[in-house]
Amino acid sequence: MAADTFRLSFAAPAWAQTARAGQFVNIQMPQHGDLLWRRPFSVHDADSAHGTLDILFAAVGRGSRALSRCKPGDALDVLGLLGNSFTEPAEEEEVILVAGGLGVAPFMLLLRQLRHWPGKKTVFLGFRSSRQVCCAETLVQRGARIVLSSDDGSAGVRGLVTTALEDYLISRDARQKVLLYVCGPTPMLRSVRAVALQYHIPAQVTVENRMACGFGACVGCPVELAQPRPDGQKYLLACKDGPVFPLEEIVFND
């Protein structure tokens, strides 16, 4: 795997049948000690034949580092399956998946779901540098065309994934119906949102808010609506109403 990136596979036969891309699991970290919360991770892949679920994660903090030290046979306390999932394309001619870093995680399962869908599948994969690159080969095996970019140019095109995306959108035939799927860090989501609005392309995004519970109990993971609802509702919950949202309907303040 890429630097500090880990794939963890665990047995979950029932979930392996029903998991839909976009959904997530909430895992209690091993040796959690004074880490109170579980940590949420997107379902990366689900293998119904083997009855396993995969997550793909970066060791960025105490929890994920502890998780990365799990060994085969260790027991994990996993809460799932949580959240909604991506809506699959209908009459579109192309789907474009935009992933910033580990934002690629849910797309592995999405491409599995779309294996019989006849349209064109393009994945824009942006990483900081070549050391972080992962999943590219498997995504190709799953029928996608990859446009790789990196901040330092050490892998694929130099620059932000959003620049690569915009270049592509400018050059394509504007009459073709396209659907965007987006996952990545907030600044990237903000840029892609601007691009999607500009080109009038419908987009679905998965958000990664901090979560105390993951199932709607703490109301701690609000996502702000671009337009408050008539009844005054200003927020949706990332864990329960999401984590997948229509990108145009929400905003990323701060």
């Binding site: 919360w37 105390a212 709607g216 109990a217 703490c218 109301v219 609000p222 509702q233 303040n253 701060d254």
Partner: protein
């Protein structure tokens, strides 16, 4: 048969384990995890007379053995609560306690008055930790005079058991408890969260949009236990213990300190089955220790 039951004024609970307001939604969120009727009862998320959108994000942050929150009491308001949330709650056979808050004493009165019309409410819990706009934003339970006044006003509009939920952020929680008792409260619950703060040193911003928030979880358990012990020694009305309870062992500490019932809060987030596990753990403990009536342990801490 082990008797786990307890009594909060006229309200008999089959066991002392309740869920804490704001950590259990309107119970529906937990219906998939276990049979809710196994609990002593549930306390709802705070309901206010008008709908509230809640605070801007970020609303939560993790701290050592605890968490900060400033959710801001988002809720659909009393009318929509009755229309949308109550139907599910009213089908529970154990105690359903409605937690109410307001920005002014009058808000409390109006909400309780309206809700009192519903059949099947076991009790009201008044969330006195919220800011009182009439008193410059100080909480309703940071001043005994105010706590007494609001309690007396609400007392007039309902005959149902009235529980006042106290903030720990005061010099003397027992003074506030006494004021509530004098004004006709049937029980107090304690504690609500401690005021806390955290800063992200990278962005240099507070980790909560509201700057400060409420600290909960195991980190605050020793503080909660001291407050419950203090209240139980000076009040005649029962005390409901809240704060960092994760297990039956934790719950027993509160019962020994004098609590007549308990609420499970933050633990529900990490372990959705936490409240039921406390019930089962208490049962198991009594069986093992040959204790026929759990409440015989109430206040049984040995001080000498």
């Amino acid at each position: 048969m082990i008797d786990l039951s307890t009594q909060i004024a006229s309200l008999r609970l089959q066991n002392p384990v309740l869920t804490a307001s704001g950590t259990f939604g309107y119970a529906e969120e937990f219906a998939d995890f276990y049979d809710l009727n196994r609990l002593g009862g549930v306390v709802t998320k705070t309901v206010t007379i008008e709908p509230r959108p809640g605070n801007a994000p970020p609303r939560i942050c993790e701290t050592p053995a605890g968490m900060l929150n400033s959710i801001g009491l988002p809720n659909v308001g009393v009318e929509q609560f009755i229309a949308e949330k109550w139907p599910f709650l009213s089908r529970l056979v154990n105690a359903v306690i409605i937690n109410v808050a307001g920005k002014t004493p009058d808000d409390f009165v109006r909400a309780v008055e309206r809700l009192d019309a519903l059949d099947g409410i076991a009790a009201f819990e008044l969330n006195y930790s919220c800011p009182n706009v009439k008193e410059g934003g100080l909480s309703f339970s940071s001043n005994p005079r105010v706590a007494e006044q609001v309690t007396a006003m609400v007392r007039k509009v309902t005959r149902r058991p009235l529980i006042t939920k106290l903030t720990p952020n005061v010099t003397s929680i027992s003074e506030i408890g006494r004021a509530c008792e004098a004004a006709g409260a049937d029980a107090v619950s304690a504690i609500n969260t401690l005021v806390g703060m955290a800063i992200d040193i990278h962005s240099r911003k507070p980790r909560l949009a509201s700057i400060t928030g409420g600290l909960s979880g195991p980190a605050i358990r020793p503080v909660a236990l001291a407050k419950v012990f203090e209240l139980a020694r000076v009040l005649r009305i029962p005390v409901i213990g809240i704060g960092g309870i994760q297990s039956a062992a934790d719950a027993l500490e509160f019962i020994l300190a004098g609590a007549a019932a308990l609420q499970i809060g933050t633990a529900n987030f990490m372990n959705p089955g936490a409240a039921l596990e406390v019930v089962e753990g208490l049962e198991h403990y009594c069986a093992g220790q040959k204790i026929a009536r759990l409440m015989d342990l109430r206040g049984a801490v040995k001080l000498k």
